[in-house]
């Protein structure tokens, strides 16, 4: 029982971590919370459902389709709703944030319109395969989710610390002006960041579909808010914090449902925000110095 819940918690936590990574990347570079991230995640989940259940594509192709679709959404988000507001005279610092809220409303209602309000089952024979070790049942899907998220985290960390583009991203995140005088085309880096973050949201979407067997147009909002809670917990714009925060939230939610009152499941994230803001406002891994944005 305990071990099973541990596996469940890690699975959920890994997905949260991927969602939070998308948030944290965009926050690091643009200094705004991308409120549309949850809805892009939802679109990724729907692309997964449509391609596997309706079109009957294999799972790996569904992943690629989801990455491509959410990546394009990310590009459009940056190109149409964020870039026109950047560096303009008289545009409030909060304008891009409002803009992403607009995109989130648009995407939610669009999928509501197309797919209906109800839950869509995510039918995949793959989701049924399980392994029994003693009295514990572990689904293959859970292992895959865990493996994919670990790979993504390691990949992202290496990419950020070792590659030229990754370093350019970090430089842009620290100071846009400095990065540009060092020869970084900051427009390109920002676009790249939003695309990568969105594609990660798409991957998380498919993983959630696989893990919980259902997707709905409303799933974006709660996931978005939890992603926000996680980056507050872990430290805004901090990659390590997003991973740790995701796992902490996933595990605590799972254990609360298993051993406590399942009605409070969604409250955990927000209780955590309250405590972290009171005790350590910069987050677990956040730095104390506020960057004057």
């Amino acid at each position: 029982m305990l071990l099973e819940q541990l596996v469940n918690g890690i699975t959920l936590g890994s997905i949260y971590a991927i969602v939070a990574l998308g948030f944290t990347l965009v926050f690091g570079v643009l200094g705004i919370i991308n409120m549309a991230h949850g809805e892009i995640f939802m679109v990724g989940a729907f692309v997964g459902v449509m391609t596997t259940s309706v079109l009957g594509w294999p799972l790996w192709l569904a992943f690629i389709a989801s990455i491509v679709v959410t990546g394009i959404l990310g590009y459009l988000l940056e190109r149409i709703t964020l870039r026109p507001l950047r560096g303009k005279k008289g545009v409030s610092h909060l304008a891009p944030l409002i803009s992403t809220i607009g995109v989130s409303i648009l995407l939610e209602n669009l999928s509501h319109h197309i797919f209906g309000a109800g839950n869509q089952p995510f039918r995949s024979s793959f989701a049924e395969i399980s392994i029994e070790i003693g009295s514990i049942t572990i689904y293959l899907v859970q292992i895959v989710i865990f493996a994919i998220s670990i790979l993504l985290m390691i990949g992202l960390t290496i990419w950020l610390s070792k590659t030229k583009a990754g370093k350019a991203l970090r430089a842009t995140a620290e100071n846009l002006e400095t990065a540009s005088i060092l020869g970084v085309d900051t427009k390109k880096i920002i676009t790249l960041t939003v695309i990568i973050a969105s594609a990660m949201g798409g991957i998380a979407g498919i993983l959630v579909g696989m893990a919980f067997n259902s997707v709905s147009p409303q799933m974006g909002l709660s996931m978005g808010l939890k992603g926000l809670a996680i980056i507050i917990l872990g430290g805004m714009g901090n990659v390590k914090g997003a991973m740790a925060g995701g796992l902490i939230l996933g595990l605590s939610e799972t254990f609360l449902v298993a051993f406590g009152d399942s009605g409070y499941r969604d409250a955990i994230a927000f209780i955590m925000i309250i405590f972290i803001l009171l005790l350590r406002p910069q987050g677990i891994f956040g730095s104390k110095i506020a960057e004057g944005r």
């Binding site: 430089a171 620290e174 005088i181 060092l182 970084v184 900051t186």
Partner: protein
């Protein structure tokens, strides 16, 4: 090499530059002097592409480069070391140096980073430390070394001596001379007018967005207007209070 013609730059509605004409010849150190708020840094930012002039043209090596982005100008050979140094404090010293050579694709980058670290042993010593933990003087050297790694033809230095101890200031000025001797043209903005004029070949003096005096550095050192306003024994504009 660099030629500014009638440049006018605005911050919103406020006009910061009111028609600047300025020329920088290859292989020289040109200095731009003036009090706080005269528009020196604005001029530098306009040349580097961080600000777009409303009027006028910037020509570099005979090409009109007005309104290009900073990253495009860097590729053409203009590197800026901004006021306040602008090092990447959350990246290590060596990563900062690597970012200096960001746009280069040649194989010499590694050797040159080695070379730079030999010239500045303190950077070598601290190469894996976060750049934000360096002292002010070390950060300034890092910022200059980083800009040099982009192999600029023209180096723009905005108040490199600001807030540094006198001994470090002397070293910074030595470095600037070395840079010139190695063949890089330097445009230097300074509050420390005396020191700047000593190493410069030609100088401009700005006041409220305009150039009011220009001439050979050796002449400017003798110019009574400048001696009174910037070099005067009575005034303290010479030795800036470290911030």
């Amino acid at each position: 090499m660099l030629k500014l013609t009638n440049i006018e730059t605005y911050y919103g509605q406020i006009q910061a530059l009111k028609g600047i004409d300025l020329e920088v010849n290859e292989g020289k150190i040109i200095t731009l002097l003036g009090a706080n708020g005269a528009g020196k840094s604005t001029t530098m930012k306009t040349i580097a592409g961080l600000l777009k002039p409303k009027k006028g043209t910037v020509e570099f090596l005979g090409e009109n480069v007005t309104g290009l982005r900073p990253d495009q100008l860097l590729r053409k050979g203009i590197a800026l070391v901004p006021e306040g140094r602008a090092i990447l404090s959350t990246m290590t010293v060596i990563e900062n140096l690597e970012m200096g050579a960001y746009h280069r694709k040649d194989k010499d980058v590694k050797d040159e980073i080695e070379h730079v670290m030999q010239r500045f042993p303190i950077l070598n010593e601290r190469q894996s430390q976060m750049a934000g933990t360096l002292s002010g003087g070390q950060q300034q050297m890092l910022a200059i070394a980083r800009a040099l790694l982009s192999k600029p033809k023209l180096l723009l230095l905005d108040e490199p001596s600001m807030g540094l101890a006198p001994l470090i200031v002397a070293e910074i000025f030595n470095i600037i001379k070395e840079i010139k001797e190695a063949g890089t043209t330097v445009l230097l903005v300074e509050q420390n007018a005396k020191q700047a004029l000593k190493i410069a070949d030609y100088g401009y003096v700005m006041e409220t967005g305009k150039i009011i005096i220009e001439g050979k550095a050796s002449d400017l050192l003798e110019d009574p207007r400048i001696v009174e306003a910037y070099l005067g024994r009575k005034s303290t504009s010479d030795d800036k209070i470290p911030s």
